[in-house]
Amino acid sequence: MTAFILRRLWQMLPTLLGVILLTFFLFNFVGGDPAYLLAGKISSPEQIANIRTQLGIDQPVYVQLWIFIKQVMSADFGVSWSTNEQVSQIIATRIGPSLTVLVPILIIETVLSVALALGVAYVRGSLTDRSIMIVCTIAMSVSLLVYIIVGQYALAYKLGWFPVQGWGESFSENLLRFSALPILLGVAVGIAPNTRLYRTFFLDEINQDYVRTARAKGLSENTVMLKHVLRNALIPIITNLMIYLPGLLIGHFLIERFFSIPGIGREVILAVERSDFPVIKAITIYVAIATMFANLLADVLYKLVDPRVQLK
């Protein structure tokens, strides 16, 4: 296992290098000259030259690339162009609020959709199954935007069950008061497509021979479903979760924006609006790294769930 993890970490290096090159290329050749962005509309050639020296973009490309690689390795992306705050500081303070909302969404949504999917897969073809599937398809077709707009308006503004938006100081206040509605809406959005997907995973397993064998030897339905079917279907479920995980951080920035949660997603939007390249670069690299680790975590989890999996 350790050898496998080490080897996989080693294999990440070329991918990481690719990500760094792609990011570098995008920002340096496609992104335009940041000196003009920074100098603003009224600028003299001296000012532009001055800014270029400050940013180090008057140096040859390979020197710049080397600086960027060093930045990635030391996790120090300099200061934000718009607020002069340390980028590492920005990320460190924004990650907390994001996780406060995302982790509960992920856990609640996964538990509920796995349970629901297992239930409807068990009674497949019945009226219950078909109606739940239709409800899921309808729920899936309602855009996240509509959920948020209507949810915020009806539940928070009209009925006053939740604060409309805001963020406090203490963790418990944030989690229980300010995150409650965002979490509720996040779960509502994710549960429908996941239930549909997991149901197909369970159905694939339910039709297998080992399920018939398990029934034939007199195991209770609970044991068959929970110990046999659920465990075997966990592999595709884990794959789905891991694909979904890094995107979740960014993907829920609509939620962060609507509810004024000072998280990573909102920071991305702000950075884009201000053309704040160091922040965007840093978040790009971190998200890519998170994706790679999520893939590694998926492989390790496969092994834990299913001893037959060969780690190569």
Binding site: G31, I149, G251, T284
Partner: protein, 305 residues
């Protein structure tokens, strides 16, 4: 061994033609069409979707209003069938019926384009990687892995920041990121198709690699491609609506369903119809695509699902 012309059992009266028909054999697509047409929800969705598309393409001609022309006499006017503004007007007095249909045109175009690019690039890329295999496959897949490490939304936002917020760029950006999953799916299919006998036969007969990919691999993988492409359209439309909502997508006075939602949300209290009509159209369209996709999957991949 069985000769279709001579039935083993004496034919039942009136079943002659039926028997002859059954023995002719049916192709995958004929079979799939039958199964699809039997799925009432999918057929109804196809019909509704057709209506929506027709309305979006040609419907603006029904109304005398122009999408970017304010009617200062009627700002935030409620919908009325008797009056001039069937869906009401927005904060500037622009007719919402025309704007909703225009938004639909943009949103549907984004969806269709994303799916087309995904089908063209994704299928070819995936089929090539899977069929050629070896080093080429590793390099192509590693490249895919790098692209996939960027969250899709993020990549598009980056492109938007760099190139400015122009309409055609949304199309390019969405197309550029939509093909990744498709390539993976097709590669997986290709890997399993590659070992089938008919591919070996084609190789023995001296058909070139590209010829095999084009004539044998791609048509056989087309079923799953069709299903996935149908399900990709709604996700592309949603994606565009997020972008437009964040102000990164379609710019005024052009509009899309996402941009209309954004405006509707602002005046939800005073003029709920400004949200209701675009949202209704968006949700109905996505719903139809999801049902059609389900129907296609049941028709082309008949497993117990």
């Amino acid at each position: 061994m069985i000769t279709p012309r001579v039935p083993l059992l004496p034919p039942l009266p009136g079943l002659d033609e039926d028997l002859g028909l059954a023995l002719q054999g049916r192709g995958l697509w004929t079979d799939a069409r039958r199964r699809f047409l039997r799925n009432r929800a999918a057929v109804a969705s196809l019909f509704v979707l057709g209506l929506i598309v027709l309305l979006c393409v040609a419907g603006s001609a029904l109304s005398p209003n122009i999408f970017d022309e304010p009617d200062f006499a009627a700002m935030h006017a409620p919908p009325s069938l008797a009056g001039q503004h069937w869906f009401g007007t927005d904060n500037l007095g622009r007719d919402l019926f025309v704007r909703t249909l225009l938004g639909g045109r943009i949103s549907l175009m984004v969806g269709a384009l994303g799916a087309t690019v995904a089908v063209l690039i994704g299928t070819l890329y995936g089929a090539t990687a899977g069929f050629v295999g070896g080093k080429t496959d590793s390099v192509m897949m590693r490249f895919l892995e790098i692209l996939a490490s960027f969250p899709v939304m993020f990549l598009v936002i980056l492109l938007m920041t760099f190139f400015g917020r122009e309409l055609w760029l949304i199309f390019v950006a969405i197309g550029a990121v939509s093909w990744l999953d498709m390539a993976r799916i097709v590669r997986g299919q290709t890997l399993s198709l590659k070992r089938k006998e008919f591919v070996e036969v084609a190789q023995v007969c001296g058909v070139s690699s590209f010829g095999i990919i084009r004539r044998h691999i791609v048509p056989n993988a087309l079923g799953i491609v069709a299903v996935y492409a149908t399900l990709l359209v709604p996700s592309m439309i949603l994606f565009e609506s997020f972008l437009s909502y964040l102000g990164l997508g379609v710019q005024e006075p052009m509009t899309s369903w996402g941009a209309l939602l954004e405006q509707g949300a602002k005046s939800l209290e005073a003029a709920p119809w400004e949200l209701a009509f675009p949202a209704g159209f968006l949700v109905t369209t996505l719903f139809c695509f999801n049902f059609i996709g389900d129907g296609l999957r049941d028709a082309l991949d008949p497993k117990d699902r």
